[in-house]
Amino acid sequence: MDNRKKRTGSKFKETWRRYCKSPAAMIGLIIFIIMFLVAIFANQIVPYSDAVTQNAKERLMQPSLNNWFGTDAFGRSIFARIVHATPTSLFIGISVAVISLVIGGMIGISSAYFGGRYDDLMMRFIDVLSSIPGTLLSMVVVAVLGANMRNMIIAMVIARIRVSARVSRSAVFGTTSQEYIEAAKCGGSSDIRIMIKHIVPNIMGILLVDTTMSVSTSILQAASLSFLGLGVQPPTPEWGSMLNDARIYMRTAPHMMFFPGFAILLASLSISLVGDGLRDALDPRLKS
């Protein structure tokens, strides 16, 4: 037991050492940590009231020293709105990625493990989900449940499950025929125990990389849905809906669209850099 602990500890260190070697991955991690801190200390950086209080006198102001990123059509500070949208976007991105990983992972791992009829049935189900365009599926689900943040997360998870199910299924395929699985079966371990104790740790790397990437795409997706007015409802600030607000004022107040878009870009870029770095660090063979 002690020995194993030591080994996993050194594996983590080894991975971290390799991770640090890539400058792109480090830049991604630093940006992500900064965004995370902004999300946690949003209220200390700028009060929430600045992000939602309307001020008719100061509408559509250009960026200045008082309002770093300018103001929107209701005179709200765009800087404050972007800061206070950060926790929302990160929360949506991470929760969609994690929930769909858990559900999709269960479907994918169990179908690869049991195979046969069950696998066929599950994969047909995933095929059905795949042939409906993701955005469209999310839109219909939001139409059913009503437009708010929780329902948008549910809708995005439903559209995302197929991806994580496919990824985890193909990751498990190589492991089921390995001898240690056979040994665990002979030892009398139950199927569930084998899946959780033996298979999941083996594909953890792939799942971790996929989840990181999925956080990045989920942030983009959430912004797109909010852009269509289906996600976070006003006056709560959200990057995608800020861009939607900016659409009408594109000619007169282009600053309204520059900053929120840049925030989405930074979030999605930093997380995908981290994902790339993780993949290279976890499996150096893939790199060259």
């Binding site: 792109a24 047909r124 189900f125 095929d127 059905v128 795949s130 042939s131 409906i132 365009p133 993701g134 955005t135 469209l136 839109m139 219909v140 689900v141 139409a143 059913v144 009503g146 990045s216 983009l220 912004a223 797109s224 852009f227 269509l228 995608g240 861009l243 900016a246 659409r247 594109m250 000619r251 282009p254 669209m257 878009g261 989405i264 870009l265 999605s268 870029l269 995908s272 850099l273 790339d276 060259s288």
Partner: protein
Amino acid sequence: MYRYIFKRLLIMIPVLLCVSFIVFGLMALAPGDPASIILGGTAEQEQIDKLNHEFGYDRPFLIRYGDFLQNLIFNLDFGTSYRTRQPVIEEIAKRTPVSITLALCGITCAALVGIPIGVLSAVKQYSLLDTILTVSALFLGAIPPFWLGMLLIYFCSYKAGWLPSFGIDSWINYILPAASIGIIYAAQQMRYTRSSMLETIRQDYVRTARAKGAAERTVIWRHALKNALLPTITVIGSNFGALIGGAIIVESLFSIPGLGTLTITGINNRDVPQVVAATLVLAIIYCLVLLLVDILYAAIDPRVKAKFTK
């Protein structure tokens, strides 16, 4: 091979049935009914009920679904739109070519830019050029498509006045929307091509080609690229399938009358026949494209072909 294609086409039938059932069911669960949306908030309940009865919307969900299926299978009729009272297939037939054109333009643009740059980047691995190209691909891949669309509209249309920002009057109108899709997918395809090319140029047959004295250009573009393109083709295929329905946001941003915008209005108006028909058409196109990719795969790769003819 033909048996395989036939089998794949047969599998499509249950998939499409499930798709129609899921969408039909979800739309039935959605709050609100078509008549009250069409007639507006001031309408009397009596009028609303009368119109819903006319649509057959007051019947139970399963009966409506059964009716829809019967109509579809025996009369090849997708039904009549609640909003326009026209057969839904007419509107879809008008819009499908638009969506396909947009997706084709976007994907072609992505492939023409992404593949050569990916090859170049792989051949010059670890050079300054490679770093610049990889970093810019990372940047472009993380841009939200609708934001890129807005930036393109702002700079190319409002500021410079070069290109129109909406409509589909001529091919010029397709440039900006196709670019906002294409640039992002180009970044993705560049990354795929690069990594698959890096794997290929280390293979023995590439070394053999060099050893027998083939020019470097022939080695890269003829011997290596042909093999490296296989995974890229799959990516292009599934991108294309996803794009036809997935360009919803770009369609709405550039006011393009495609299937995506049709579905949005359909969902908002609870126009069930419209939404179900549009989704079905999208699903059919998606399945057909995936099939086409597999056939193409067999046509290009003799190893895959050998599997089918066995």
